[in-house]
Amino acid sequence: MQRLIIVCLLVGFPVLAKAQSIAQKADAAMHRVFGEQAVLTKETLPIDPPMRSAVQKRSEEEVGDKVIVHKALKDGKIIGYGIVDDVRGKAQPITYITLFHPDGKIADVEVLVYREPYGGEVAYESFRKQFRGKSSNSQLRVGHDIQNVAGATISSKAITYGAKKIAVLFDELRKAGKL
């Protein structure tokens, strides 16, 4: 009986752990929000020092010197954008994507990889829906316009700070005519 259980566990766990890459998960999120028919492309854009400092000033968060922007096209027209980013949870990075409508409003925020055993509730619809329709000009602060998941404050704050940073970056890229 014990051997049978062990065999089941050994076979069962690798099957359950069917791996999907972060890129595949990002594409799946783009399709979910902007439609299965959308054509997806990617573009790497540089973030120059003035833009970096502008983002830092507005969001109080640091960004790197380049960003990969995912684009969803329909009939040759851009209908949505996505930016993948990591924020630090309690101990490990949380990989998430912020999706935007062309007008800069957040279409959705989706957690792509959550690595810690506790606190994965930030992936829930009830938390994520609060970001929809907000933009770089929104407050995006836990306890104000975003309610944290009860009992998961650290990851709730991490995702909220991250979404604010990416929304500001997206706005700066738009203003600079890069999108």
């Binding site: 259980i5 359950l16 055993p117 938390f127 609060q130």
Partner: protein
Amino acid sequence: MRVSYILVLRPLLRLSLYSTLVFIVPSQTVRAQSSEDSIPSTSLQNFLDKTHIGGYGEITYKAPNEGDVPRLDIPRFVIYLDHYFSDKWAMKSETEIEHVKLERGEGGEIGLEQAFLDYHANSHIGWRTGLLLIPMGIINQTHEPNTFYSVERPQFDEQVIPTTWREIGTGVYGDLSEGLKYQLYVTEGLKTQEITSEGLDGGKQEGSAGEETSDFMAGSDASHPALSAKLEVLPFAGLRIGASTYIEPGYTHDISRSFFMSVLDARYEHGPLHIRGEGGVINTGDASDFPHVPTGARGGYVEAAYNVMPLFSSAESELLPFVRVERIEFSSRSDTTEANFSTDRDIDRNTITAGLAFKPLDNIILKADYRVTKIEGELDYRQFSLGLGFAY
């Protein structure tokens, strides 16, 4: 009933160690299959990226009223050492020094508070084996000092739930569906006959035989395993409701009466308002045939805190006045006489704690509170406490 419990639980517990050993080897296979999610640890930087060192601690001052000596203490200083082998495999540990030091066997305590291997397959199922925190109430699994506002943990979480309650075992956890979480573990059981009207603390095994230290005699008593489970519902972002159960089949007599414990908890947060509560019952089963063991216990608390900082400034820091009302009852044996030690009557404790917590940063907390405990027929116990806590 008892036979069926033992038939199922004991092999499962035995399996925990067995399967831990077997699982470590095939982790290589899993890695190969999901290479995207894991990076082999070939360099020091890579190792450090995958390793998390952290911890928490608290420094306290407690001044009781009745002429007792005021005390300064570092009740806990804990070091986390976690290693993330991949996005799915992790080892998590907490090593604890209690009450500053242990010298020649006197003073505080040094021990593992958690040490387990975790396989986080996906959001629906994870598998965990090792020294685990029993999923009971709020504080036992989330006990960093910046997660609660009083200097000391609630009385309920010391006397009824013996925090930090950890035992060696194995089990699964995950989301049944979005907003519905479960945990289910089989662990070594409590030594239920060691329970007193002061609480369950003496009954914990914590993976250790206690005084027996030879290789042959070391380790906890795995002959009476227990099942613990928790279900949590999160209907919306600010609300979390939990229901926990712990069942340990009777083993002290031929007549089987299980030790049973059940706890409900809730946390509600809406902007600056934070409300939480826990409540539960215990039935000590067979162990209540021992004269010093209460037949059961029940109790709970409700706590409300309000972040008043936004009234004064736009800073991220939080200033939280709070108040907590608690009641705990330990029931005596119905046939006890006055000769029977301390449980010859029911013991009810009513406690009110009021205080102020200041969080300059999320991970740092300064606390001050005043606690009054009323026990029928005894003088009120009053205590003023100050605390400084951190987690990183």
